[in-house]
């Protein structure tokens, strides 16, 4: 067992426990986007940062990937953590404003402005879908490619993957697009979702405008050319 201190409370956890799990065990809320129980920790969204250590040597780490260490001092909502989290949320809202999940998180953290050039991206590259596909569905149909600005998720060579079973789990776990399928003009998007559109978007042209990875559409089975 490992003893550590979270927000002044001493807690004993099993070896290998992450700081996120330990904090959640104590009931401290830590927002996350890329984390999901049942998937391996990845540390992509950085929302779950916590401050560890003390004094000048203290630093921020992602709690979902950092394992508990003996005697570690953790603060889950220090001013540095909150400041960083708010900036991350501002960046998320600037890039992916139509996600309901992100909207709610931003509202809960009192984000009142967005100072960057507005973008309408449909993916925050949290990698939940990639890990879901690989770890739970055992398919490995999708993965990351490219780096930096041009990083994206897709199938090899962008052709339909033989190993994809169209299970839809990737869409199911997506925090950005779970209810995401949008209006044809992103600025006017109201959170909807393929499965919720009534009547469903049976026209291929409209489906092309949807920012959806699935082909065919899981809701209406329209096939993209």
């Amino acid at each position: 067992m490992i003893t550590l201190n979270i927000n002044g409370i001493t807690v004993e956890v099993e070896k290998g426990t992450t700081l996120l799990e330990a904090a959640q065990f104590l009931g401290f809320p830590i927002p996350t986007l890329c984390h999901m129980e049942g998937l391996s920790p990845y540390g992509a969204c950085r929302l779950c940062v916590v401050e560890i250590g003390a004094g000048a040597r203290s630093r921020l780490v992602s709690s979902c990937t950092y394992r508990a260490e003996e005697g570690l001092k953790v603060r889950t909502a220090s001013s540095r953590v909150v400041k960083t989290r708010k900036m991350i949320l501002e960046l998320l809202v600037a890039s992916c404003p139509q996600s309901k999940t992100i909207q709610d998180l931003a509202a809960a953290h009192d984000i009142r402005q967005q100072r960057f050039r507005q973008e309408y991206e449909d993916c925050i590259l949290c990698g939940r879908c990639v890990r879901m596909c690989e770890e739970q569905m055992m398919a490995k149909a999708i993965g990351f490619r490219g780096r930096g600005e041009s990083r994206s998720i897709g199938t090899p060579f962008d052709i339909k993957s033989d190993v994809c079973r169209l299970c839809g789990a990737c869409i199911y776990v997506c925090p950005a697009c779970e209810l995401r399928c949008t209006y044809t003009e992103p600025e006017k998007a109201v959170c909807g979702g393929c499965a919720n559109i009534s009547p469903p978007c049976v026209e291929v042209d409209e489906f092309d405008d949807m920012m959806c990875y699935m082909n065919p559409c899981v809701a209406c089975e329209v096939v993209r050319r």
Binding site: R46, L60, T65, L91, F144, G148
Partner: protein, 1056 residues
């Protein structure tokens, strides 16, 4: 060659090689590193080889083809041994002479490297400053061995350390030796190597790995490549020793695919080492195994990060992961892995061979040994530099690096690659070691050092690095991927003129978040370029966002046409040049006169910043003679053709402004306020208007009728001139306000000469330059007689000398200056003019005492200086040479070592403060500490140019207008870009289109020596048009022909 099966056999082999080397032959060494190959070393090497064979000299002269020596600027070069003569930038034609010289044991003085300062040929490597300042423990060996052969390395003592370790060291002892050496990782972070090794050694695991990180990806850094290319065996030996210490039997070299030569040399070296039994199974018959494989990286920058590197070796996508666990605990395939940089590994054999304690003696207590830096950018000697840790940046940049390129000043260095930071020139005393650099906001990184001068824009530098990082971030962490992209966007906004002060705050906040919240070293240091430039160059950022100016003229969206951007009043120089080329002289006069009420004055005495920045000059030709063109127009066109536009502003009409000082700044303000209907009174202490234009600048440069005509034209019904009234004597600021003035503008100029503070300064015959010039210019009094000395190197000194040389009773004039001519602040053409007129120049000389008899000076004692250390201005400080005093008999001494506006510490009045001899004002609003009182020109800046004073006058007028209307004094600024379209004239295609810069006609020196008439004359109309047609028309990038838009090219006017 049979495999060496014992350590004794290795030593035998080494002795045999050394014996053979002992019978020394002359040797010609060709550097064939990648840089030298690119500049032609391969041809040189082939020609030498052919020459040796053809002349049958193979047995007499040895040819050695080596890796990089470091002096890449001079490639291709040859070093002739044993003389160590260095022949830089040679061609294949030089080869026979060099080979012959080698045979005869002579050197070739014509081909030898010459010292750039003294121009003396350097006889051997140690005479060359670049090499003499270094301690070349690692790089020095590159010169002495051929990387594709093993024997050279063995002769140099290679694999001696390995033999010793195999024979008598336990793993603990190896680590202890490394620990005592104090060696820290050369990859950047500076983690103690022994500590890392010890952790890996203590891991209980059957398999362990050692890795050499040769994924050198920093822009401008190539020291790792040079070591791998030039001495691959040193890295291999280091890795074997590391493997023995940690109990690993396998090693990887992770090397960039873009380093083909390094990979080739490494592969050859690995093969040789295996063949000789130095690598692989049963090393030297000791029963120990260790082998090395090469993994080629595809070039992603992030793969240099150790956890990403491990994933790449495993065959996965190069993405960092959370540490801990550290690679030394769980690395490749979960096994303990020790990763060190190329340079660290290359240092290991040295540590073992010399002993840890000996190694620790080099450098500083916390950072030991030497470090290789690749010094690139705006510097004379680019190349690889190896110095002991703790060497100051100054030594590297100015002594070894040779200082700035001609005509520029070094501003900062960027160290540590894209995620490193900038260090400004005023911190160049900083010793280079891990901790000092970190404290200064930079980092050692792998050792890339990019030198930047005043033509480098720091915002643009930050943007460049951010652009690199946004492409090279792996993209896993949201804050690194998006953060670098957003930082780049913000910087892009600033460089394009869309920036605001809020951008700077956001840059800082976001930079902090990126640093704080990312996983790996790349992300955590990604914001460094922004944060460190903001920390040291915030002023430059503010120039971009507030004034919308890029002083380095790099940011295109803020620069427009360079000539226009360089002019303090924003004269559209391109426009009058274009109009002259079209023959539209009156329009050209309008372009000149609109921003500048003193066109004829500036056509004669302006320091033409426009010409300094002209792109013709930057592209290797002579810059456009813009001042001569301006002179042509102002002499040709009748100024009365121009009528300034007048505005009827009801708020401003009836307001009264007092202007103190009738120099260019004061008169410009009065003129521009008059156009708005404001009544001004200009108070002048002397008996006529003009300020420095009349009292400081002699008539042979600026004829008085020209000046007076221009001043008279500015005095209209709204302007009252009150000469002979001085502030403090006839009125005070309080009395001005009491007598109904709404605002006061102080433009008193800088009329107090600085004193030398030496003995005898008050003797008769010693005059401050201002007094000397005023006496002649205003009153016609001749103060100089006999032998005249002038102290100083600025424009006043030159003016004083040129006045003195023309005066009756003067036999000779000498200027004494404490630095070299290169550093004289006076305009080059003025110095040239003075020399032509017979003025003598004594450089590197400072006055010590003025001696006299009966209260009159007779001789001056001088001391000779040497150039010493570099000071904060980037110039070398003159240091007096002891015992070099000399006495020079002089009858008159003019002291021109600078002027100031007010005596230090003396406050003119309440709320107006003085610092460094000038009045303190807000640079943008010219406000003093007292409401309603503004100050500008030399009075606020110290001695400065005419055009800067005019610019201050224009600014003052604009600010006072806003003040009188009760508006905010700071008005939003737009970038100054060309707006009007002037159609270019078609090229005649004739050969004379490519004629050089026009010669400005001047009176012959013998004639003008005794005359006070004007020296320069106007160019002819034909010459002016021809000169104007040389203009590259940078403005056309920003304007377009309103009529031609949408019209097909065939019918457009240019193709008629």
């Amino acid at each position: 060659m049979p495999r060496l099966s014992t350590i004794g056999e290795l030593e035998q082999l080494r002795r045999r090689i050394r014996d053979r080397v002992g019978q020394q032959r002359p040797c010609v060494t060709v550097c064939a590193g990648t840089a030298c190959q690119a500049s032609g070393a391969n041809d040189v090497q082939r020609v030498i080889k052919r020459h040796l064979i053809e002349r049958d000299l193979v047995d007499q002269v040895l040819l050695r083809v080596t890796g990089c020596h470091g002096f890449c600027e001079m490639g291709p070069f040859v070093v002739q041994e044993p003389q160590d003569a260095f022949y830089p930038k040679i061609t294949t034609k030089d080869v026979p002479a060099i080979v012959d010289a080698a045979v005869l044991g002579e050197t070739l003085p014509d081909l030898l490297y010459r010292d750039p300062i003294t121009d003396v040929p350097c006889q051997c490597l140690d005479d060359i400053r670049f090499f003499a300042g270094q301690q070349r423990t690692l790089l020095g060996r590159n010169q002495r061995l051929d990387p594709i052969r093993l024997f050279g390395y063995l002769a140099e003592g290679g694999y001696e350390a390995l033999a010793r370790v195999l024979e008598r060291y336990t793993p603990e002892q190896i680590i202890d030796e490394v620990k005592r050496s104090g060696l820290r990782g050369r990859g950047g972070a500076g983690f103690p190597t022994a500590e890392k090794w010890d952790v890996a050694r203590r891991q209980e695991s059957g398999e362990k790995y050692v890795v050499c990180n040769a994924d050198e990806g920093d822009p401008g850094a190539y020291m790792d490549r040079s070591i791998l290319e030039g001495n691959p065996h040193s890295v291999i030996e280091g890795m074997i020793i590391g493997g023995l210490a940690m109990g690993a039997s396998e090693g990887f070299v992770f090397v960039r695919h873009e380093y083909p030569l390094a990979i080739k040399h490494l592969l050859i070296a690995l093969r040789l080492a295996r063949e000789y039994g130095l690598l692989g199974e049963d090393i030297l018959g000791t029963g120990r195994d260790f082998d090395i494989n090469i993994v080629k990286s595809a070039g992603a920058f992030v793969c240099g990060e150790e956890t990403a590197l491990i994933r790449t070796i495993e065959g996965a996508v190069g993405e960092p992961r959370q540490r801990p666990p550290f690679p030394t605990e769980s690395g490749i395939n979960g096994k303990p892995t020790c990763i060190n940089n190329v340079e660290t590994w290359a240092n290991i054999p040295i540590v073992i061979a010399r002993g840890g304690d000996e190694f620790a003696r080099i450098g500083t207590p916390t950072s030991t040994g030497t470090k290789v830096f690749s010094v690139v950018g705006k510097i004379r000697n680019t190349g690889l530099v190896e110095v002991p840790m703790g060497t100051s940046i100054k030594e590297i940049v100015y002594d070894i690096g040779g200082g700035p390129l001609e005509g520029s000043r070094i501003k900062a260095i960027q160290i540590g690659g894209p995620s490193g930071g900038c260090i400004p020139h005023w911190r160049f005393d900083l010793p280079i070691d891990y901790d000092s650099l970190k404290e200064a906001g930079a980092m050692m990184g792998s050792g890339g050092m990019i030198v930047m001068d005043d033509k480098t824009c720091m915002v643009d530098v930050a943007k460049y690095f951010m652009g690199f990082l946004k492409d090279e971030s792996c993209g896993k962490c949201f804050t690194c991927r998006k953060g670098t992209q957003r930082l780049w966007e913000l910087l892009d906004d600033i460089t394009e003129g869309r920036g605001t002060l809020a951008h700077l705050d956001l840059l800082e906040a976001l930079g902090q978040t990126v640093t704080d919240s990312t996983m790996c070293g790349l992300g955590q240091s990604a914001a460094n370029p922004v944060l460190s430039t903001l920390r040291y160059f915030r002023g430059e950022y503010e120039r971009h966002v507030i004034d919308k100016r890029c002083d380095a003229q790099v940011c295109r969206g803020l620069t427009g046409a360079p000539c226009q951007a360089a002019c303090p009043v924003g004269t559209e120089a391109w426009r009058y040049a274009a109009l002259i080329a079209r023959g539209e002289y009156e329009e050209a006069y309008r372009a000149i006169r609109e921003p500048n009420p003193f066109p004829s004055v500036c056509a004669r005495v302006c320091d033409h910043k426009c010409e300094e920045r002209c792109r013709l000059g930057a592209s290797g030709e002579d810059p456009l003679a813009l001042r001569a063109l301006k002179r042509f127009i102002t002499d040709t066109v009748d100024p009365r053709l121009y009528q300034a536009e007048r505005y009827a502003n009801p708020v401003l009409a009836g307001k009264k402004v007092a202007i103190v000082g009738a120099g260019p700044a004061g008169l410009t303000t009065a003129h521009h306020l008059s156009l708005q209907g404001v009544k001004t009174t200009v108070f002048e202490a002397e008996d006529r208007a003009g300020g420095m234009l009349v009292s400081g600048i002699p008539g042979f440069r600026l004829p008085r009728d020209v000046l007076n005509k221009e001043i008279d034209a500015l005095i209209d019904e709204n302007v009252t001139l009150s000469c002979g009234t001085a502030l403090g004597r006839d009125f005070t600021i309080d009395s001005l306000f009491a007598s109904g003035f709404d605002a006061v503008f102080l433009a008193l100029g800088a009329h107090r000469s600085r004193r030398m503070n030496i003995d005898g300064e008050d003797l008769t015959g010693v005059y401050p330059s201002i007094e000397f010039l005023k006496s002649w210019n205003l009153r016609g009094e001749v103060l100089a007689k006999g032998r005249v000395g002038v102290i100083g190197g600025g424009n006043s000194a030159i003016d004083a000398a040129r006045v003195a040389v023309r005066q009756e009773g003067v036999s000779e004039v000498t200027i004494f200056y404490r630095r070299t001519r290169h550093e004289m602040p006076a305009f080059a053409e003025e110095i040239e003019g003075a020399l032509e007129e017979g003025v003598k120049l004594e450089l590197l000389t400072s006055p010590v005492t003025v001696h006299g008899e009966d209260g009159r000076m007779t001789t001056v004692e001088f001391i000779v200086n040497e150039l010493g250390d570099v000071d904060t201005s980037g110039r070398r400080r003159p240091v007096p040479k002891a015992g070099s005093e000399k006495r020079v008999p002089l009858d008159t001494l003019v002291v021109a070592i600078g002027e100031q506006s007010v005596d230090d510490g003396a406050d003119v009045t309440e709320g107006i403060h003085v610092k460094n001899g000038a009045v303190v004002v807000d640079k943008r609003t010219l406000e003093t500490g007292r409401p309603g009182v503004f100050a500008g020109g030399d009075f606020a800046t110290g001695p400065n140019t005419v055009i800067d004073a005019i610019a201050a006058g224009r600014r003052a007028a604009a600010v006072i207008e806003r003040y009188l209307q009760g508006e905010s004094l700071v008005a939003p600024v737009e970038p100054l870009l060309p707006t009007a379209y002037v159609e270019p004239v078609a090229s005649s295609g004739a050969a004379d289109d490519r004629i050089g810069r026009v010669e400005i006609p001047v009176q012959p020196a013998e004639k003008r020596r005794r005359l006070f008439t004007e020296v320069e004359a106007t160019v002819t109309a034909e010459a002016a048009v021809r000169e104007a047609r040389r203009c590259l028309r940078c403005d056309l990038e920003f304007t377009s022909c309103p009529e031609a838009e949408g019209v097909l090219p065939e019918t457009s006017r240019g193709h008629r």
